[in-house]
Amino acid sequence: MHSKIPLFPEQASTLAAQVDLLYFFLIGVSLFFGVLIATLLVTFAIRYRRRVGDPVPPAIEGFLALELLWTVIPFGLAMMIFFWGAVIYFEMARPPDNAHEVFVVGKQWMWKLQHLEGRREINELHVPIGQPIKLTMTSEDVIHSFYVPAFRMKADVLPGRYTTTWFEATKVGEYHLFCAEYCGTSHAGMIGRIVVMEPAEYQAWLSESGPTVPGGAAPVAGTAGVPPAEAGLALFQQFSCVACHQDKPTPAAVGPSLVGLFGKQVTLQDGRQVVADDAYLRESILDPTAKMVSGYLPVMPTFQGQLDEEQIRQLIQYIKSLKPAGETASPGVAAAASGAPAGAS
């Protein structure tokens, strides 16, 4: 690999080949027009170079047909390229329904990744081949960007909100992970690797304990691979959320029940309707009076500064797991839904 100058990264995702195809097409277009202009310039320069005794250059003002030609054809070509790029982009913007979620928190200057089943990673992400993975990401401080060249995938990671992207790995191996949005001193050090494994190996890896650190050192002591929803239940109790948000609320309840809340439309104090999604839940934990549900008093305290992004994510996963009796919970949250007390996170 190092013996020759590499020209493009490995194609390790379902979309990589599509992106490369567009790239090669554009290289072809560029070569065509570049060579065309260069050839014309050089040919005209030589053919019409100044010689003593030359005839007077004719006053050629222009040629409308030519102008139209070289306006319309490039425009048509441009629209075609636009369309092609847009199609790929649309696909990149829509994670498949069967995508597994992984949560990413970027902070100066490291990546923290959380699998739903419990394993946590730092600067590394293990994924199985052939399974779409959806990354839900946020930053604890400044803007970062999660970039895997081999997957041709990149998305900004913003503080104060969630951004998502997805990929499906197609080739076993290890690939670069870079931060691609300048974020301060160690921006160039905020790198890692994506480890793509065969599904069986991945399952085996999942059930090992401990978060992994780069280089495969021994797992960090004291932290078990707890599913985030379970950890969220513990936080829910630790921070006394349960005091106001009971599963079966009485008429005098201070706060609404959170069972079945995730994904539902709620009506706010001013009459607006919003969907209770990740962003809504996060905002309501940190800034409770911003989008208050109608029918309640603004007494919920803010947890800004008391919870970091990972803990907020754990709480959200717990809330997501609160389904009304009879509905199935998503993988990794069954334990929490049963209400069994979990170990400390």
Binding site: Q269, D270, D287, A290
Partner: protein, 215 residues
Amino acid sequence: MRELTTPYVAHQFDDADQQHEASALGMWLFLITEIMFFGGLFTAYVVYRSAFPAAFHAASKELDIGLGAFNTVVLLTSSLTMALSVRAAQIGKRGMLVVCLLLTIALGLTFLGVKAYEYQHKWHEHLVPGPYFLFHGPDPTNAQLFFSLYFAMTGLHALHMIIGVGLLGVLTVRGAQGMFSRFYYTPVELSGLYWHFVDLVWIFLFPLLYLLGRH
């Protein structure tokens, strides 16, 4: 002093007409840049207002609508007196010119005085963004955003008013010295344009900041 019958034409211009047209175009262009300058702030305001309506409504209620309305009347009147001073210059009435300019300045200073009062009142109420900000309504984080924009927008406006008052001061002195006449009053005319513009900005600021949610 002798009334100028032919204005001084700067060396780069062919004649007085060209000079006048160039100056007028220059002032209009400058006002367009000012629109773009304020435009950035207005954009931020519109974006945040639509994102945080509750906070902005509640924060807006803290502004004194009476003082805001008074200031609006003051500024509108000052635009009238400004227009009158341009008229006075146009018809060569030096006395009227000076009086109208002085009235405009006085009204401008009144506006600024009221604003100063409002600002210091906000300071006492802990509504100035920063470490001492304390808002008792809903969504204090985003209410602070309202006040940041309030001070930025009205502050920038006030700065333009101060510059305008200074400009008018210079005009008043020059006018009193007889520098303007029926044949040459371009500086008065162009300062009038500037003044009207600053007034116009306030006409947008007042409802956006003060009249939010008051139907």
